[in-house]
Symmetry: C2
């Protein structure tokens, strides 16, 4: 923790669009390379040596421009976040006056896009997916700034699709059921590709998945509306399982 370097970094950060020599080309190249490596292997597995090599920079460059590896990661995350926000607008162009069904469809499609596309424009989504599973210090901020708003949006859409009197827990769980279906394809990709090596996750498949998850979820919500408190077949909380889950080996 050398004060001089910290100051260097602070200055370098301030003049991010300044007039310095070559307009911060190294800095920019580092951000670019880092985004690639971080999305591919995650924060911990990424090495600053690979990032610097890709950026054509010296290993000391990261510490000079960003303080340390975590600083670079944080910077990549916000940069890509701003980019993603412009690429994938929150409700994918569907207005708040649209029907709840249309809004849910838009939400699901947009979410799937962000999570599935292995595209340059989409590194943020894949970094987010990784943060959820293998969090770094950045997760707290991400939950506050990205995930919580999305959760709120989904909550209002779901509530609009359920009868007015629905209790909050049910509405919340329905939201999680929808999100779960989507994130499955982000998190379990290694398993899915092994189970079905042939299937490619291209645009056609994105459409298929959007269509299916929307249909599945809307169908469920409709039935929930129809019989608001059906006792959900097989709730029977078996005493046997209660035993099993507690037993020591």
């Amino acid at each position: 923790m050398c004060l001089k370097l910290v100051l260097n970094m602070a200055v370098a950060t301030l003049r991010t669009e300044g007039t310095g020599p070559s307009f911060g080309a190294t800095r920019q190249a580092l951000l670019e390379a880092a985004a690639d490596v971080f999305t591919r292997v995650g924060f911990r597995q990424a090495t600053i040596r690979e990032i610097c090599q890709r950026a054509g920079a010296n290993v000391a460059a990261i510490n000079y421009h960003f303080g340390d590896k975590a600083g670079l990661y944080s910077e990549v995350l916000t940069t890509e976040g701003e980019l993603a926000q412009r690429r994938f607008p929150a409700e994918a162009g569907v207005s708040k006056q649209a029907s709840p069904e249309a809004r849910l469809t838009a939400f699901i499609r947009s979410f799937l896009q962000r999570v599935l596309a292995e595209d340059l424009a989409n590194r943020h989504g894949r970094m987010m997916a990784r943060e959820m599973v293998e969090p770094t210090a950045a997760l707290d901020r991400l939950v506050r700034e990205v995930i919580q708003p999305q959760a709120n949006l989904l909550a209002t859409i779901v509530r609009a699709l359920l009868p007015p009197g629905t209790d909050q827990t049910t509405a919340r769980l329905c939201g999680l059921s929808i999100v779960g279906q989507i994130l499955f394809y982000a998190h379990c990709r290694p398993v899915i590709t092994r189970l079905e090596p042939r299937r490619a996750y291209d645009l056609v498949e994105l459409d298929r998945l959007t269509s299916h998850i929307t249909r599945f979820s809307l169908a469920a919500l409709r039935e929930f509306s129809r019989r608001p408190d059906s006792p959900a077949l097989g709730v029977r909380r078996a005493a046997s399982s209660r035993r099993a889950i507690r037993s020591k080996r």
Copy 2:
């Protein structure tokens, strides 16, 4: 890669229940400690020094008894796998003659149990959950021996709940929708606890989740049966998104 040590390991493995001094106590302690550490932090983050310290063994013990770190991991995985198979029987005690609804309920509850319980008896489930997201060389075997059979079981249950003529893709996607809802709670725990710090994942919550996911999924499948090829509101594959997903930065 010293031949001598590899042979040592082979011998040590063979006599796993042998009559050696102290009946392989060190070996056993290593397996126990390793299972704890691997479930907590995963394969890569686990250090053999921590494992050995917990087991009260020397760092060289792992190489002596298991060849290397990966060998230990593989051994832990199979040991815990056998244990889990006895703890959580495949269909949770529901016979194949039971109604598809009952079988689905049992499947969901059993799956949730295996994935949620932070119990000694449950380390296998948590290691599996981790393998899906952050695979090691062991995943191929696990897909073959554990995941594929589960997927087949779920497939037959789902098909029984859908009309006979349903196309295979739809049935498959329904299965994935169910699995996705369940695994969400395994993979996104860091996010969930930040969104709702108060909620505890105890037995009551397990019952609630089982009940909800079952109800949600059965409702969806019922509606699917009712109108087999409803056009799923909002399939409209917007040209705009097609543009967005391809655009470079």
